[in-house]
Amino acid sequence: MVEITTFHYLVVAAALFVLGVIGVLTRRNVVIVLMSIELILNAVNLNLVAFSRMWGNLHGQLFAIFIVVDAAAEAAVGLGILIAFFRNKETVNVDEIDLLKW
C-alpha cells in the first residue's frame, strides 16, 4: 500500500481544478458553471488542506474554512443574480447572456 503523500493530494486537486475549469469554459447552463466554480474552489481547498498537513500547522485549514464561507456567499449572490436575470431574459444559458457587449 502506497503512502498517500502531498503529491497525491496535489494531483487530485489539480485534476479537480482542471475539471472545474473545463466545466466553467464549456457548459452553457449557468447553474452548472456555478457548480464548476465550486469544483475549482474545492480544488483549491484540497491544496490548502494538503499543504496544511504537510507543514503541520493549521493556517491552510483556516484558509479553507474562509473559502468555504466565501463559496457559500458566492453561490448565494450568483444564484440571486441568476434568478433576477431569468426573470428578465427567461434564459440561463451563458452564451445568450451578452449584455456586457457594447
Binding site: 475549469v21 466553467v24 469554459l25 464549456t26 458553471v33 451563458v94 452564451d95 447572456i97 451578452d98 449584455l99 456586457l100 457587449k101 457594447w102
Partner: protein, 708 residues
C-alpha cells in the same frame, strides 16, 4: 349801407344752395331743386346789384373818394398780431396774415354783376336744358358751388382767398366737364382740364408767394399802395418774375398758349356749363387776376410784353383752328380761346380797361352763343356736327335770331357790344406800336377777319343751306322751352346794348365804362410818371381821331369781308359741301383741322403717350425712366446685396457644415468609431470566452515562467 355791410353774404347764398344739394338733393323733387338753386343765384344777383349800387354812392363821398371798399370778416390764415411771421426778401419780418376779407371796387363790381347776372340766366336756362337729364340735383349743386367759388375769387381781398376761389372754380370745372362721367371722353377731358390747370395754379401760387416775400402782404390794397409808392423802379426783377408767374396762372385758367389745350376738350360737359364756366365767367378769372395785379404788371414791362404777345398769338392761333372745326361747340370753344387772347392782348399793352370791357361784353355774347348752340343741339337730338345741320332758321326761329345777334356782336358789327370792346383793344394795340410791338395790331386785325369768317360759317352751316340731317332727326326738330329761350332773348338784348356803356370819345361817347374803372387803373399812369420821365404822349387831337376812325372802318370792313366770304362758301351748303380751305390748300386744312397737332405734340413731348421712335418723353417717359431706374438700379442694388449675402451665407453654411461640424465635431467621433471597430472585436460579451482567455493567459504565464 346794408348790402355793403353784409357783402360777405353774396358768396354764401350759392354756397347754401350747394350745401342743400349735397345733403338733401337726392331726396328733393326737380322743382324744389330748381327753386332752391336758381333762387339763391337770383338772390345773390339782386344782393350784388344792391351792393354795387351802394358802393357807387359810398365811393362818391369825399372822405373815401374812389377808394375800394374792404370788409374783413375774420382772420382766416395766420394772425394779425405778429405772432406768425415770415422773413421778407430784405430780411425784415412780416406778419403772415390772410383774412377772410371782401373787396369791392369797380373791377370786382363788374365781375360781380356779370358773374351773378349771366350765371342767373344760365341757371334758368339749365332748368329747361337739363330737364330730362339724370343727376339733376348734382348738376345744380355743382353750378351753385361754382357760383360760390367764382364769387369768392372775385370778391377776395387778398391772393390767398382769391386762390381758394381759383381752386374752387377749377374743381367745379372738373366736376362739370366730367358730369357725364360714364363717358370716357368726358372723364378724360375733366382730367385734362384739371391737370393742365394745376400747371397754371403752381405758377399762380408761386407768384403770390413771391409778392408776399417781396412786399410782405397778400392784400391787394397793401400791395397796390406799396408798389405805387415809388419805392420800386420799372423793370424791378422780382416784380417781373412775380408778374410772369402770375401770368402763368392766368394762362392755365384763361386758356392761353401754351396751356389752352384743356378748354376745347372741356366742351364734353353739358352745354350750360360750357356757357357759364368755359366761356363767360371762369375763364375770365385769369384776366381778372392780371387786371387785379395791374400795379405789379405796370412795373414789369417785360411781363407786360409777354402778356401782349402771348395774348395776340393765342388769338390768331385759336381763330385759325376755329376756321375749319365741324363741331359747333368746338368752334365756339376756339372762339373763346381766341377772344381771351384779345383780352390778354389788351392787358399786355396796358389797356386794362379795354380788356375788362371785352370780358364784360364777351360774357354776354359768348354765353348767348353757347346757350344758342345748346338750344340747337337740343333741337337736333344731341347732334353737334355742323355737317349734319343746315336750314334751321325757320324751325327754331328764336334761337336763330338771338344767335345771329351774338354773331354780329362777336364779329364786331356796330353798334353791337363786340364792336366797341374789340375796337378799343385794336386801337390800344395800334397805339402801343410806338412801344415796339407794331405787329400786334396786325395780328389782332387778322384775328378779327378770321373771327367774322368762322362765326358766319357757323351761322350759315347751322341755319342756312340745305337740311343735311337724317329724316328722323329732322322730324324731331323743335324750338326749346321758354326757360331756355327766355335767357337767350335777355342775353341778346345785353349783347346789343352792353357796348353802349363804353362808347369811346371818338364816337361821341363818354366811355363810361373806362371812367368807372379809372380808380382801379388810373393810378398807374401817375405812378409811372412819378418814377420815370413820362414818354411824350401823342395829343388826343383831331388827326388822332381820324386814325382811330380809319382803324374802325378797317375792322368793320374786315368783319363784313369775313362774313361775306363765309356767305359765299356756305350759304347754300348742301350735302358734301366743299371746305374752301381744303380745296385751296389741303395741307393747311389738314394742319388746322388737326389743331396744329398740338395735342399730338404734347403727347410726344409732355405726356409721353406717344413715343418718338423708341424714346418716350414727358411724364410717362419720366415714369418709365424712374420705373426702369427703380427696377434696374435700386432693385438691382438690393438684389446684388442679397446675392452677396446669400453667397456669404452659402460659404458660411459650407464652412459650418463641413469644417466645424465635419472636421471639428464629427471628426473625433469618426476617429473614435474607426478605432472602435478593431477594439470591438475583443468584446464578445460572453463570459466563458473571457474566462478562456484568462485561462490561456494564465497558461501562457505559466509556460513562460516555467521555460524561461
Amino acid at each position: 349801407m346794408l348790402f355793403l355791410k353784409y357783402i360777405w353774404l353774396i358768396p354764401l347764398f350759392p354756397a347754401f344752395g350747394a350745401t342743400m344739394m349735397f345733403f338733401f338733393g337726392r331726396r328733393l323733387q326737380k322743382a324744389a331743386v330748381s327753386a332752391v338753386c336758381v333762387g339763391v343765384v337770383v338772390v345773390a344777383f339782386l344782393f350784388g346789384c344792391g351792393a354795387v349800387w351802394q358802393y357807387t354812392h359810398w365811393s362818391a363821398a369825399p372822405e373815401h373818394y374812389h377808394q375800394p371798399f374792404e370788409k374783413i370778416v375774420y382772420t382766416w390764415l395766420g394772425s394779425g398780431d405778429g405772432h406768425l411771421n415770415f422773413v421778407k426778401r430784405d430780411g425784415s419780418l412780416a406778419s403772415f396774415n390772410a383774412d377772410a376779407g371782401f373787396l369791392l371796387d369797380p373791377l370786382s363790381s363788374i365781375w360781380l354783376l356779370f358773374v351773378t347776372g349771366v350765371g342767373m340766366l344760365i341757371h334758368i336756362y339749365s332748368v329747361g336744358y337739363m330737364a330730362h337729364e339724370g343727376g339733376y340735383y348734382r348738376f345744380f349743386g355743382y353750378l351753385n358751388l361754382f357760383m360760390f367759388s367764382m364769387l369768392m375769387l372775385v370778391l377776395a381781398n387778398n391772393y390767398m382767398l382769391l386762390f381758394v376761389g381759383w381752386e374752387g372754380v377749377g374743381l367745379c370745372s372738373y366736376l362739370l366737364i366730367g358730369f357725364y362721367f360714364h363717358r370716357k371722353s368726358a372723364s378724360d377731358a375733366a382730367n385734362k382740364a384739371f391737370i393742365v390747370n394745376r400747371i397754371g395754379d403752381a405758377g399762380f401760387i408761386l407768384g403770390a408767394l413771391t409778392l408776399a416775400w417781396y412786399l410782405g402782404s397778400f392784400r391787394f390794397t397793401d400791395i397796390n399802395t406799396l408798389v405805387r409808392s415809388g419805392a420800386f423802379h420799372i423793370g424791378d426783377p422780382v416784380l417781373t418774375i412775380a408778374a410772369l408767374l402770375l401770368f402763368v396762372g392766368a394762362c392755365g385758367k384763361s386758356a392761353q398758349l401754351p396751356l389752352y389745350v384743356w378748354l376745347p376738350d372741356a366742351m364734353e360737359g353739358p352745354t350750360p356749363v360750357s356757357a357759364l364756366i368755359h366761356a363767360a365767367t371762369m375763364v375770365t378769372a385769369g384776366v381778372y387776376m392780371v387786371a387785379r395785379s395791374n400795379a405789379v404788371f405796370v412795373l414789369a414791362p417785360n411781363a407786360m410784353k409777354t402778356v401782349a404777345i402771348v395774348g395776340a398769338l393765342t388769338a390768331v392761333f385759336a381763330a385759325s383752328i376755329g376756321l375749319v372745326q365741324n363741331d359747333i361747340k368746338r368752334v365756339l370753344a376756339y372762339s373763346t380761346v381766341s377772344q381771351l387772347g384779345y383780352m390778354f392782348l389788351a392787358l399786355g399793352v396796358g389797356a386794362f380797361a379795354a380788356g375788362v370791357f371785352h370780358v364784360f361784353t364777351h360774357a354776354f355774347f359768348k354765353a348767348l352763343l353757347f346757350l344758342g348752340s345748346g338750344s340747337v343741339i337740343h333741337a337736333m337730338s344731341g347732334e353737334q356736327n355742323m355737317r349734319n345741320m343746315g336750314d334751321l332758321r325757320g324751325r327754331i326761329p328764336t334761337t336763330f335770331k338771338t344767335m345771329f345777334v351774338a354773331t354780329l356782336a362777336i364779329a364786331g358789327i356796330p353798334p353791337l357790344a363786340g364792336f366797341f370792346s374789340k375796337d378799343e383793344i385794336l386801337w390800344q394795340a395800334y397805339r402801343s406800336a410806338d412801344g415796339g410791338i407794331p405787329y400786334l395790331w396786325l395780328i389782332g386785325f387778322g384775328t378779327a377777319l378770321m373771327t367774322a369768317f368762322y362765326m358766319a360759317r357757323l351761322i350759315f352751316l347751322t341755319f342756312y343751306g340745305k337740311p343735311r340731317m337724317s329724316h328722323e332727326v329732322e322730324h324731331h326738330i323743335h324750338e326749346s322751352p321758354k326757360s331756355m329761350t327766355g335767357p337767350l332773348v335777355v342775353l341778346a338784348i345785353c349783347s346789343v346794348c352792353a357796348g353802349w356803356l363804353g362808347v369811346p370819345a371818338s364816337l361821341g361817347g363818354s366811355n363810361g365804362f373806362g371812367k368807372f374803372l379809372e380808380p382801379v387803373f388810373a393810378h398807374n399812369d401817375a405812378a409811372a410818371a412819378a418814377i420815370a420821365p413820362a414818354e411824350p404822349q401823342e395829343p388826343a387831337g383831331e388827326e388822332h381821331r381820324g386814325l382811330e376812325w380809319g382803324l374802325m372802318i378797317l375792322s368793320v370792313g374786315a368783319a363784313v369781308v369775313g362774313g361775306g366770304w363765309a356767305y359765299g362758301y356756305y350759304a347754300n351748303a348742301g350735302k358734301d359741301y366743299p371746305e374752301p380751305i381744303a380745296v385751296k390748300a389741303p395741307p393747311l386744312y389738314t394742319v388746322l383741322y388737326n389743331k396744329w397737332f398740338v395735342d399730338e405734340g404734347y403727347d410726344y413731348v409732355f405726356t409721353g403717350r406717344r413715343k418718338i421712335g423708341k424714346v418716350r418723353l414727358g411724364a410717362m417717359g419720366a415714369g418709365e425712366a424712374s420705373s426702369w431706374f427703380d427696377a434696374k438700379i435700386i432693385d438691382g442694388a438690393v438684389n446684388d446685396v442679397g446675392w452677396v449675402t446669400r453667397a456669404v451665407a452659402t460659404l458660411s453654411t459650407w464652412w459650418d457644415k463641413w469644417i466645424i461640424d465635419g472636421v471639428g465635431v464629427n471628426g473625433p467621433a469618426i476617429l473614435a468609431r474607426m478605432i472602435s471597430y478593431p477594439t470591438r472585436l475583443f468584446e464578445w460579451g460572453l463570459v466563458q470566452w473571457y474566462a478562456l482567455v484568462m485561462v490561456a493567459g494564465l497558461l501562457g504565464f505559466g509556460v513562460y515562467y516555467v521555460w524561461k
